[in-house]
């Protein structure tokens, strides 16, 4: 066994989710991403003298929804604290956060990674505000500060050190992303910075009961980098221990170019944040009715939909995963199967035809022109054998999009696509085909039964797709046997 296999990876996460509220956490500045620098600011976000914070109701609601979604206990009396430190992109010289009494306590998420299930325990979720952006590489002598992001609302999810591999971290982050999109509280977009994580990494010998010393890799904004960073850090720590050294608690930065973690120069004092209760914000007391009201607004969640799709609708894990990736799609599917009993066909239609169509059009389910009733009829047409899958997808579907008020049946009839199972019609075609390929008939009769596919293809071709495949197949077999 390699020396590395003696050790277990232990990771805990601090995930920062930037909320998609219209205004900031403690003032009414715009939060939209991508604006010109320093255009989403106010006297409050710039920490002008005499200004005070004003708590955004949507931030509180988003926190409660997230807590409900992961099974946290909602802290009905939570409050804010000041975290004091100096940095150019922190205008007040302190961050308003929740230290002593966060809004959600506990919770858990079960993930599936490397073919195994693991339950990740959530320590808590708290509300806080984001800092602005500092740009250090625009000039040799100066740094530049953009405060658009200063004050944007964040939810921080802190997990227990329950992760045992970088893959689990990746799956978890994807799960969180999916969840916050379902709840419509964030777009979970790591590239744009609306989700990032700090990874607390340590190692220990397998079977050990205590945790090793941990290092924190800060501000991972890409899961690819996070996986590499964690892998690197784990190896670094093991190498250090094996060489007789001790892991020191440090804050680290990961450089994706070099692929290594390096300590952020920090002094002891820099981390004395002197937390104390924020005197400018009254506490948040959430009534049962406030929480229950939010409960009624909760959408169905991805994990429960997945279970429903695989058990009630007997879909494969693969199909269920694809359908539950985005809430819009999942809800559309639910709507669709209210109108048709053909669950698998409905799934196929949505996954293989509708989604690709929407991607191509760069549009969404919300603006899709076909009603679920129309789609149900479409599916029924196929199930009834009136048209083949191929004809339906290739000819009827586009025509339906053009004229959505027409029924699929009407379109099929107008385009003369209804499959013909008429014995005489088929007999004529079959005779024509076997007359054309006498050698192949012989080969078939000699035992190469696979040639039925060839004959089927020819009949279908001749009939321009209108021959009913089932009837054609049965007739072909009958006729070929007789020859």
């Amino acid at each position: 066994m390699s020396v590395y296999e003696k050790y277990e990876t232990v990771v805990g996460l601090e995930v920062h989710v930037q909320l998609s509220t219209k205004s900031k956490a403690f003032c009414a500045d715009d939060t939209r991403f991508g604006a010109r620098p320093n255009t989403h600011i106010s006297a409050i976000s710039l920490a002008y003298p005499g200004t005070l914070p004003r708590l955004n109701k949507k931030q509180v609601e988003s926190a409660v929804k997230l807590g409900l979604a992961i099974g946290s206990k909602i802290n009905q009396e939570s409050r804010f604290d000041r975290k004091n430190y100096f940095y150019a992109d922190l205008p007040k010289g302190y961050q308003i956060t929740q230290d002593a009494s966060p809004i959600c306590i506990g919770g858990q998420l079960t993930i599936n990674a490397n073919d195994a299930e693991r339950t990740i325990r959530i320590h808590h979720i708290h509300m806080e505000e984001d800092a602005g952006k500092s740009i250090h590489d625009m000039s040799p002598k100066s740094s530049f500060i953009d405060l658009n992001r200063a004050g944007v609302p964040l939810l921080e999810i802190v997990t227990e050190p329950d992760f045992r591999s970088p893959e689990e971290v990746d799956v978890f982050m994807n799960t969180i992303r999916q969840l916050v999109r379902y709840l419509e509280i964030s777009d979970g977009n790591m590239e744009e910075g609306s989700m990032r994580c700090d990874c607390n990494v340590s190692v220990r010998l397998k079977g050990a009961e205590t945790y090793g010393e941990r290092c924190e890799i800060k501000n991972m904004n890409s899961m690819r980098f996070a996986r590499r960073a964690i892998s690197y850090e784990v190896k670094r720590q093991i190498d250090l221990i094996e060489a007789g050294g001790k892991v020191q608690q440090q804050t680290l930065n990961f450089d994706p170019v070099t692929g290594i973690t390096t300590p952020l120069r920090d002094k002891e004092d820099a981390h004395d944040y002197r937390y104390f209760p924020e005197p400018d914000l009254p506490p948040v007391h959430l009534s049962d009715s406030f929480i229950n009201n939010l409960k009624t607004q909760m959408p169905p969640l991805p994990q429960e939909l997945f279970k429903q799709f695989t058990s009630k609708f007997s879909l494969s894990d693969y199909d269920a995963t694809l359908l539950t990736e985005e809430k819009e799609t999942a809800l559309f599917y639910l709507d669709l199967v209210k109108n048709t009993p053909h669950h698998k066909a409905a799934a196929n239609l949505l996954i293989n035809k509708i989604k690709p169509y929407l991607n191509e059009q760069k549009s969404s389910v919300a603006t899709f022109p076909l009603s679920v009733k129309s789609l149900a009829d479409f599916i029924q047409l196929i199930e009834d054998g009136k048209v083949s899958n191929t004809i339906a997808y290739q000819r009827i579907f586009p025509a339906l999009i053009e004229t959505p008020t027409q029924t699929p049946l009407a379109i099929a009839e107008k385009l003369n696509l209804i499959q013909n199972a008429d014995e005489d019609f088929l007999q004529q075609l079959v005779q024509e085909v076997i007359k054309k390929y006498p050698d192949k008939v012989t080969t078939y009769q000699k035992g190469k039964k696979g040639l039925i596919g060839f004959f089927m293809g020819e009949v279908m071709r001749l009939s321009k797709g209108k021959a009913d495949p089932k009837a054609t197949n049965a007739l072909l077999r009958k006729v070929l046997e007789k020859q």
Binding site: D29, L46, I135, S143, F144, D146, A270, P279
Partner: protein, 96 residues
């Protein structure tokens, strides 16, 4: 409470101050005296007393999620001691 050079130095770092030698001398002895005065609180038995955190009686002061009251960039940058056309400017930040 012993107020020594190390403590003063630590507090200066935390508060981003850099006192002159005379200021340091005076403030060191002042802090010492003040903390002696403050120590009087230890005479009170507060073991069963809850800290008083809020003087305001309000709870749940929440704001609707709408955008308003922004400051225009020109005004904000005009007030800045040093600025660029789009940004606040500071000497290059090296990790502290």
């Amino acid at each position: 409470m012993n107020v020594d050079e190390a403590l003063i130095s630590k507090l200066e770092k935390l508060a981003r101050l850099q006192l002159s030698e005379e200021e340091k001398t005076r403030i060191t002895s002042d802090l010492s005296n003040i903390l002696d005065m403050v120590a009087k609180m230890e005479e009170l038995d507060t073991s069963k007393v809850e800290p008083l955190v809020y003087i305001s009686e309000e709870v749940n002061v929440l704001r609707e999620d709408v955008v308003q009251n922004q400051l225009d960039k020109a005004t904000a940058l005009k007030n800045a001691p040093e600025e660029d056309i789009d940004y606040f400017k500071v000497p290059k930040v090296i990790d502290l």
